[in-house]
Structures are given as C-alpha cells and as structure tokens.
Subunit: 313 residues, 2 copies
Amino acid sequence: MAKYCFGIDIGGTTVKCGLFETDGTLLEKWEIPTRTEDSGSNILPDVGKTIQEKMKERGMKKSEVAGVGVGVPGPVRNNKLPYAVNLHWGEMDIAEILGGITGLKIKAGNDANVAALGEMWKGGAEGKQNVMVVTLGTGVGGGIIVDGHIVEGAHGAGGEIGHAHVEDAITDPCGCGNCGCLEQVASATGIVRLTREELKKKDSAETTIINPDAPIDAKVVFDAYKADDAVATRIVNRFGKYLGTTLAAYSAVVDPEVIVLGGGVSKAGDALVDIVSRYYRAVAFPACVETPIVLAKLGNDAGIYGSARLVLD
Amino acid sequence: MAKYCFGIDIGGTTVKCGLFETDGTLLEKWEIPTRTEDSGSNILPDVGKTIQEKMKERGMKKSEVAGVGVGVPGPVRNNKLPYAVNLHWGEMDIAEILGGITGLKIKAGNDANVAALGEMWKGGAEGKQNVMVVTLGTGVGGGIIVDGHIVEGAHGAGGEIGHAHVEDAITDPCGCGNCGCLEQVASATGIVRLTREELKKKDSAETTIINPDAPIDAKVVFDAYKADDAVATRIVNRFGKYLGTTLAAYSAVVDPEVIVLGGGVSKAGDALVDIVSRYYRAVAFPACVETPIVLAKLGNDAGIYGSARLVLD
C-alpha cells in the first residue's frame, strides 16, 4: 500500500515540491528553479529528476509512492494542456512525459484549481466536499470543488472566478482581453484601481490617510479602512459589493458548503471576510445565505497540498 | 439485465409519468393528478400505484426494471428534500417511501435539475457531459451538469440560475425574497416587466406595435422584435444583456460544453439564441466564448427523460 505522494506546483519562476504521507502530512518541502528557456523543455525533466533524487535520498520504493500531482498555470483538461504562457509551453501531455521519466502515476491540474483542492484537504475547507475557493492576488482566481472533485470545465476554464463581467464603465482590457471583469476591481490591482478612482472623485476638502503620492496597495487601503478612513471605507465597500454580489451569483449555481478567501488580499483578515460577507448575504439565494465565508489557511503551500491530493483521487 | 426504467415528474397539478427503455427510448407516457390535499400524503402512494399498474398491464418483472427516477419541485439533496411548497410537503424521504411501496430502486432530484439531465440525455445537449440548461418560463430555472452528473449543491440549490443579483434598481421582491434577481428581468414575467418600463419611458411620439392595453407576454414582445419594432428591440436587448452577461459569468466557473435554452420563452427560437449569444460572446471568458448556445428539444417531456436517466446512474 502506497504511503507517500508528491505534490508539485509549477510556477513561472520556481517549482514548489512537497513530499506527503497519503494522510496529508507534509514531510518535506523544497523548491527548484523553473527553467523556461528552450520552450520550457527542461521543466518536466527537472521535476522528474528532483523526485527521483528525493526517493533515492530517502530510500523510497516506487510501490510506496501513490503518484505525483502537478499544478500548472494553464487550462488543464484530462491531464493535458494546450498551452501555458508563463512556462513558455505549447501543448503538453504532462502525464505521458513525467510518467515516462519517473514510472509513477501522474495527475495534472490547473494551479488555481489544485490550490482549491489543497484548501479542501487540509486548509480553510478541511472536511468539506463542495467548496468555492477565491484567490485574491494580482488577479482573481480560484477553484470550484463539487462532491470532492475539481470542476475542470469543458475548456479547462472551470473556476475562472475573476472573469465575470461586473462593470460596463471599464474600457481598458483585463488580462483576458475583455473589459469590466471582476478581476479588474476585486484583485490587489483592482483595489488600487478603485483607490485611484476614489481619490480623483473625492471632494478636495475631504482628508484621507491614504497618501496618493506613496505606493498604494491593498494593505494600505485595508489599514486605512480599519482606521475608519472615509475614503478607504468607500473603496472597500465598492470592492466588497463587486465581490460579494458575484460570489452570491456563483453560489446560486454551484451552492458550496463553504467559500474560502485566499491570496495576498486575504491578509486583511476578518475585515475582508466581514465586508464580502455583508454584500454576499444581502443578495444570496436564501438556501445559500448562511454559507460560511472563511480565510484560506495554507498560503503558498495550497498548491503542493492540492496537487498531492489530486493524485490520490 | 434491466431493460426498463420509469421517469416521474411531479408537478403542482399533475404527475407526468414515462416508461422508457434503458437506452432512452420513450415507450409510453401518461399523467395522473397531483393530490396535494392532506399535506400531499397521497402523492407518492399514487405514483407507486400507477407504476405497479403499468408493470402489471405490461407483464413486467421487477428484475426488468432498473428503477424509478423522480423529479420534484424542491431542493433535493441525496434523495431527500426538506420541503416542497407546491406539493404541500414537509420533509420527505422519497426513496424510502416510494421504494417501500414498489420494491424498486428510487432516485430523486430537483425538477429543474432533472429536466437539465433530460436535455443532456436526449435533448439539445445530447452526447455532452458538461451542460448548462436555462429554463425561461414564469421564473428562470435550470441545471448544471458536470461530467455527466447534476450539481445538486450543498443545500440543494445547485443550478438556481435565476437568482443572480443583476439589478439594484428593482425594489419589489423576487419569489425568493431578494430584490433584483435575474428571474425578475429574464423570465417570461421579467420580459413583461421590462416592457412596462419601456412603454412608460418611451417618448410619447414614438409608435410601437406593442399594444399597451392588450395582454403582454414574451411572444408579443419577440414578435414585435422580429418585426423590427424599436421599442421591442430595446426590450429584447435589455433582456439579452441581463441574461447573456450572467450566463457568461456562470460559464467562467462551470465552463459547459453547451448552453441549452428552454422554457416557454424559448419558443422565440433563433431570435432568442441570437440575442443571448450576442451579449454572452461580448463578455465571455475567451476559452468559453465559442460555447454553443442552443434551444432545448424535449419541451415538457424533459422532466420524465431526466428522471429516468437519473436512476440509471
């Protein structure tokens, strides 16, 4: 009976690696660089090599390893992905290549979806089977878990939470090419956008502790909000309304047991949960109105946890 | 090996019944009245009786019947439902009661979700496994199918497509109790609402073939739209924008292979598909932008097809 599994989270700069026991105990984690040169052709061989080295170092047999889960920044469907821009990859059959090198069972998933699975396994949604995870970072990503399984989607676009159209007034494009996506107003960079707008709109007589000449980020805005700054309160309320209203719409169709908020913006803590919850509960379908909204727990380790969990399916 | 299955669709007035071969061939359909008196306590016994009579009439053995699928107007989770207002039911364990009467395998689902499964099996989404079905009738309902299975949701609210909040300006409540739901602007009654608004707003010099003193329904409005009536064009565009934008948001998270439009409003045909597609494609996440939007095919039989399919799972 297999006792171990590996969770691999391939990012544009580093590959995070985790060795787990199959019950979810993290034994060891480490990183290797992501070599994106030569169309990223070294990435999977590098991953294969570090796994083989780790197994040798610990004297692990293949029969003891349930497999290797891999999270990648691209639209995965059935272990394959058509492209991964950040890795300089075109079409890639991850299971075939990495399986060929290691002789182990391989399962691949989209990095955001896999991180959601991690939060379900050992994070903010531990013990649940129906989960919506929302990652508020540079963008807005996430994953939907239904009955314990990732919703990959027919085109690998499952869980693309950030790309609901929420604002007609935005005319500059989102990273996806459309205009007015949730990501443009509810990510860390979206909060900066709302802040610039509010600073411009506000009456010149109104004072604020947000310094328009210093670097602005989500932390600056939430700190000002926690200090009852009126301008920050307007910004955070706009952010909360966009996000809470959209999450309520998603809840009406996938109806999770719990909604988990992660990513850099989630460092705002309870203030974030409170504002999102307020706008969520104002419009959520009655059956979903009490769905708990909680903070993610695994931080940057969500990807290795989730990819390890993926291969145990 | 079982050759037959029953599909039962319990509505507030009649129970639709279908006898199918397990390949999806409909052999016979019939209806019985829904007896809602005495807290609806006769409904499941009546269903059990009509099934037993049908089996006797046709000389069918229990071993030849895969089971009975049942669609009910309420939030079903794991064959149970906490209430079904239209049937005068409180908590009901459908599988236990109907299984006790018939000795057959029973599976229950929410009526709208089950109808979606029917469209996947033998309707507008035949051959697909990832489907979003939108039913535009008195309300806006539907169902989400992921990898061949209904998304029931943690509280039986999966596929409650009509309850995204889309309009802050609406202050009268939706059937769900909230204000500004998609259902209030994109159902048959929602189209009437939009029509009343546009007729009130329009310049008194502007003419329209919509007669404000005659009964208004979705057909009247779509007929006027097809005749290039300017007022009807504004109404249908508003309707299309609400619906297309919301479906695009849902696509970004569940990413179906196909979106199926059913219900009474779908009698508008290609004009409906075209207007919804236009607004959908304007804001859909790139991976989902080409997702086909098609008309439902099974009409009022979707429920019996889907409930029959449900029990074959």
